[in-house]
Amino acid sequence: MIIDAHTHINIPEDGEEAAALNPYGMPNFDIGDYLASFDANHVDKCFVFSHDFNIESRFPRYNQWLSELGNDHKGRLFPFGCICPFWSIARIRSEIRRCFESPGLYGLKFVPIRQGNTLASEEMDVVAEECERFDVPVFFHDGSPEYCSAVQIAYYAKKHPGLKVISGHGGLRELWPDYLNTADKLDNLYICLSGPPQSGIQKLYEVLGPEKLLFGSDGGIGHRAVTAAYIRRIQKMDAPAGHKELILGKNAARLLNIV
């Protein structure tokens, strides 16, 4: 079983004409195109995120759309919602509760480099408190100074030990080494390998073991080769087959309690 723990989907806009091509040079996929691209790569299940983290006024509608997507594709797609850390604390609590009091969403995703927020804020503490209450993970774009470096993600996991925290890019190309001596002490921190170089993936595995690592491609709205590339990198790892199975899917299943 392969679970891609990092994918994006295009959410149709209300009353806006879609561009012919998205920023990745691809047509704006519908759900059929999205599923076909993962079928082609033999991916069984996906964590799914929007790809628009800039315009906060859209987030409630996106959350509703993604929740319906999760219900329509139960057992196949596991969407994550988003809130704006600059909303009032009352509104943050209200939207998170709306997201998780009914089924469909499985966690929250943040892209601090786009949203322009620090993780060391009262608002993000409230996010952690609410997500911990619902036992859902918080997934971060990371590897980008100044808002979401690897040590900043590790800080957030340390600050909120009861919250499941996922580094979405494993620190990207240059900051992954900061997880070697932080994630080992943080049982609640998981690392998605969509980012480190091949040697970084190998080193993270050798130091941290297989249980914290997740395969993720950051694919879904781009060329399907995006997903193929990261499957190749996981398969190329110097690791026993059983450990690769954990990384390719079993760890993600355990994290979201997917049967």
Binding site: Y24, G143, L172, R173, E174, Q198, S199, H223, A229, K236
Partner: protein, 246 residues
């Protein structure tokens, strides 16, 4: 079509290791005809002469399979200039700069004396990019504009976060190329739709990445034969002004 890997590291570093026999074996497996090697980690940062001599020795051992770039840390000043001149006269064919490991901003004039030597020797300069504030694509562009006769290779094409800056930088300098390592199919598509294929040069950054896997990832996106010829051979030949053993 010849397959040329424009960027590999050789040596026995603290963080990485790759010996020439393993590299040649990996090249054979991946179908690579020629690789351009440079020193790695501590040999980029401090032990420049040892690193350059090691690369020059590997090139002499495999003259039909390897070329080499010298690297010197600009903080060594006059000694760095002398070592660069020595290494270039010892068979190395370009200059590699790594602002992160060598501790300078790519836009710092401290590097200019080295670029004057590269200019005089008429060799290309490879610069690491992708690190915020230290090694950004527009800093590489600044060098390319100040030294219009040098061909600059933007290492890693600004990966991860600078993919937009990277293609925009190309608009302003014809002597600027982008090297593919640390990138994947998403950015390959970005280069393709932004008309950058004439400047893309394949590099694996081995041993950080496996050459065979990175070639497959490029072939997945660039399916046109003419595009592949540019990325794997023609563009790097142009950057080196045709001075290659093949």
């Amino acid at each position: 079509m010849k397959m040329i890997d424009s960027h590999v590291h050789l040596g026995n570093g603290i963080k990485m290791q790759l010996d020439e026999d393993t590299l040649i074996k990996n090249m054979d497996h991946a179908g690579i005809d020629l690789a351009i090697a440079c020193p790695m980690d501590r040999y980029l940062a401090v032990y420049n002469r040892e690193g350059n001599e090691f690369i020059a020795g590997a090139v002499r051992s495999h003259p039909d399979r390897l070329m080499g770039m010298a690297s010197v840390n600009p903080w060594f000043g006059k000694a760095a200039c002398e070592e660069l001149e020595r290494a270039l006269s010892d068979g190395l064919s370009g200059l590699k700069l790594h602002p992160v490991l060598q501790g300078f901003r790519l836009s710092d004039p401290i590097v200019y004396p080295l670029l004057e030597i590269a200019n005089k020797a008429d060799v290309p300069v490879y610069v690491h990019t992708g690190t915020a504030g230290i090694a950004e694509p527009f800093q590489a562009l600044g060098l390319a504009l100040d030294f219009p006769c040098i061909n600059f290779i933007m290492g890693h094409a600004g990966a991860s976060d600078y993919y937009n800056d990277t293609v925009r930088a190309l608009e302003f300098a014809q002597n600027l190329y982008i090297e593919s390592s640390r990138n994947g199919p998403a950015n390959f598509c970005h280069w393709q739709i932004n008309g950058a294929v004439d400047r893309v040069i394949f590099g694996s950054n081995a041993p950080e990445y496996h050459q065979d896997i990175e070639i497959l990832n490029i072939l997945d996106v660039f399916t046109d034969t003419a595009e592949r010829e540019k990325i794997f051979e023609k563009n790097i030949r142009r950057a080196y002004k045709g001075r290659m053993p093949l």
